[in-house]
């Protein structure tokens, strides 16, 4: 145990521990799942850590706005933890935070593509005020530009410009956002891997375990989706994925690209993954189950980071990822309650909590 690590991480660790205890409890999840409707769900949420963010006029709290407000919590914890984190771990958190910027950029590009108004787009974004290169004003300007080439010119000052401007040629030929989005994702994930690589000692090991697992799952799911949904060629799948990872190696990706049995490859890496039996018969249904199962694997990895030696970057990174999953689940719940879906249709999509009756079902 290095005294330097203890000194550097004692403060942030104490804070993360305290914040960790404010995450939604299984009882609250149970109540949220059982909530009668959207209003009842908001009432329960207003008594949790999300309460302060939902204190706006009820009439204005549409489902989309509610999700947007909930995301403020995520923004707040990132902005609180980043300055407390010592370097070089701070760079990793900044890179994780950048993922929302990339998502915002993608959402804005979709808005430009569909000719949406700024009012339609703004509440789809993740609120970000600090540690950003892409401001809300930039995104508003992109939407108002009304044309993809002009929209990309609006991000000239950001690190995304080079990637987008090169991919623009393909967008203009194919008239689909796919090449732009994939280019952004690949560039972002390469950067994320680089941030992990910059770390040493326990920081590197734990970041690899926590963030590397997320990177693995994304990379693996890309490969599978490109094969199952998009029917891409072996070469295309390889080019649209990354040769880096923690447990998922390039051989695995290349095996999937080359047409190997997906279930077999995934089982070799994640023996407990679900949906594998279905993959060969009803590939799409199996893939949906597999996606949730792998996201739950990330959640379990993040919870495990809180056990054992605590003075490393893995703890804050895991806490932030857990919150992201919490927000994703809340989004699923909000959509389910607004559409009045029966329990069995949405409970299986939740990633952070597996309620008892769902376990029994399985």
């Amino acid at each position: 145990m290095a005294i330097r690590d203890v000194r550097a991480y004692s403060s942030i660790h104490a804070r993360v521990r305290a914040l960790y205890s404010t995450m939604l409890t299984p009882e609250t999840w149970e109540a949220l799942i059982q909530a009668q409707d959207f209003d009842a769900l908001l009432n329960i949420l207003s008594k949790t850590v999300y309460g302060p963010y939902l204190q706006i006029e009820r009439g204005k709290l549409t489902p989309r706005r509610a999700v947007y407000q909930i995301r403020w919590h995520l923004a707040d914890i990132y902005e609180r933890l980043i300055p407390l984190t010592p370097e070089p771990g701070q760079q990793l958190l900044l890179q994780l935070w950048r993922r929302y910027e990339v998502d915002n950029l993608k959402a804005t590009l979709r808005g430009v593509e569909t000719g949406a108004s700024w009012d339609q787009v703004r509440h789809l974004l993740c609120p970000m005020t600090k540690y950003i290169t892409l401001t809300t004003a930039d995104m508003e300007k992109m939407i108002h530009s009304g044309d993809m080439a002009r929209a990309i010119e609006c991000v000239r000052h950001t690190p995304y410009y080079g990637t987008l401007v090169h991919a623009l040629e393909r967008y203009q030929e194919e008239k689909t956002l796919f090449p732009l989005e994939v280019a952004l994702d690949l560039d972002y994930h390469r950067g994320l891997w680089h941030s992990i690589d910059q770390l040493t000692g326990p920081d590197h090991d734990h970041a690899l375990r926590v963030v590397g697992t997320m990177l693995d799952v994304n990379n693996l799911l890309w490969a599978i989706r490109y094969r199952v949904y998009h029917h891409l060629s072996e070469q295309e799948i390889i080019n649209y994925t990354l040769p880096l990872g923690y447990q998922v190696h390039d051989e695995d990706i290349r095996a999937i690209a080359a047409g190997a049995d997906i279930a077999q490859v995934v089982r070799r890496i994640y023996p407990d993954a679900e949906g594998l039996e279905q993959l060969s018969e009803r590939a799409r249904a199996g893939l949906a189950a597999l996606e949730v199962s792998l996201q739950r694997h990330i959640v379990r990895t993040c919870h495990a980071a809180f056990i054992g030696y605590p003075f490393h970057i893995g703890v804050p990174a895991a806490y932030l990822l857990l919150n992201e999953h919490e927000v994703r689940d809340l989004t699923v719940l909000i959509e389910a309650k607004v559409s009045r879906l029966p329990l069995e249709m949405f409970v299986s999509m939740l990633e952070t909590q597996v309620p008892a009756y769902q376990t029994e079902q399985r």
Binding site: A18, Y20, R190, S233, Q235, N239
Partner: protein, 649 residues
Amino acid sequence: MFRPQVMSKVELVVPEHDVVPVTQVLAASGVFQPTPSVHLGSGRLSRSAEDWRRRATTFADLERRILAVMEALEVDEGPPPAEPPQLIEPETAQMDIDRLEWEAGAPVRELEEGRRKLAQLQRYLSQLEPIADLEVDLDTLRNLRYTFVLPGTMPAANLERLQTSLELIPSVLVTLRREDHLATVVLFGAQRDADILNRAARSAYLNPLELPEEYRGTPAEAIAALESDIKRARQYVAECQTTVDYLHEVRVHSLRHLLWRVRASRTLAETIARYGRLRYTYLVAGWVPTSRVNMLRREVKRISDDVLIEVDTPARQEDGHVPVALENPPIVRAFQSLVTTYGRPRYGELDPTPMIALTFPIIFGIMFGDVGHGLVLILLGLLLLSRKVRVLRGLSGMGTVVTICGIAAMLFGSLYGSVFGFEEVLEPLWMRPLENIMDILISTIGIGIGLLSLGMVFNIINAVLARRWGRLFFDHNGLVGLIFYWSLIGLAASAFAGDLPISPTPLAALAVVSGLLVTFSKVLERLVEGRRPLIEGGLSAYLIETPIELFETLIRLLSNTISYVRMGAFAVAHGSLSMVIFLLGEAVSPTHGLAYWIMVVLGNLFIIGFEGLIVSIQTLRLEYYEFFGKFFTGGGVPYRPLTLVPREK
């Protein structure tokens, strides 16, 4: 001076026909910060708010269009007008903008098109240049029967992946050039694999070189043709630019004028949209410094006698929503930006600006004590204040700070006996840091202890002002925190110095008791202030957090105190750096010729620029992290009076 200005909540009931002139008066007064009052009005009549909101949206759209034309014609916004501009009707603005858009549209499009074509030609050229020496006809490459050839550019990061993806396909990827993140490549393969190769290349973001058919012959010949086309394209772009420049010249004033009129009209519409509405009147609410209420009342009454005005001054403790207007004399105000960069004081708490105005120059002076260097800083500060050098105008706000820091540096320079690094010219009034290293380091720790204790005293005062008795007694930086800190200092002093008037036993007892109170400060604070639950986030999390917090408090107090050693260390480093410069001068010219003096001047400039910057950063660091951290909460709501055009700073 030590607290934000007293603010009053002003509510006006304005007849419908007076709402625009009254809002203009409120904006012109420069003291009224409106707050939304729609909720005070009648819900049935909220159509008015909708109408004003719609009007504001129209103006916002018009503003965007003007800005787009301005951007296209490369016209900047210019400074805001000295007088509030006349308001404009949306229809009139619309007509003006339509005309401007029509006028600028074609030339700007032609310029953009010309630039795009030029960029494309340059791209072709950069892709052809690496194969300039190839003695092959390009038509041959275009019409190959058995060989697949694909030249193009791609992200360098994708090169390896593309090669991996083509491992099983007979092919060769040749990198011709790598610039920044892009690589110019040629992919060779068999024509029968063209489909696979094309898909692979495309997925690796290889953008093919699509040289138009008109460029024929060998690459060298095509390059010559391209260069001639580039020359023509440049000429065309220059001609288009001349037209756009002409439009810029003739339309610059009308565009700026229209922009500010539309902007002022939008602000006015947005402001009125947030007013409450009754049947025949509007309800307007906002904050005004209490000292300016009478002036505002007179101004409004000059417009209309029918306006009803009510004033209420809330207590300091209700600070959550009251905007904070800081009030300091001009010299102290210069340091205000250093405080607001960290955070704005809350309405109920002390404004640390006077303290930073006092301590910042002292800390700076201790680290940068030199009569000559201080004099240069004073001259620089006066130059900034004079605003005579255009490129330095943006820094004029820092002129006073630089001047005062220069004075402090001169004072400490006299105490240290240092002039431009020469230590023989002046007799030190106190001591030379280089010769008394331990003395200066211990003295600066003493100053640090004083400043940290002062910070804790300020925290106690803030707690009294906020009537937060729990925070007053049990906060880490409250009374028990202060006692804990001083008992630890007492113990350390008795260990090192020995003969203290108090024996170590009561000090140790005091340290243990106050340490325990600090450990459980959160619970005790909540207990005294009647806040429940006593433990937030569960007992287990609390038990894990508590010992770490005590450990952290101890480490923080120690590191905060030791942190002030840097003041002494920099004073020593300042002397050492000067010595190094003289040694370098000696090395260059042992006879103290011209080279020696050039070295001394350059070295002193380096010290002023480089060390001055580092010392400023360190001073700011000591203020923010060590001093402010003890008492300053921040998070106050900024006071932003309504104005139809932004005021120039």
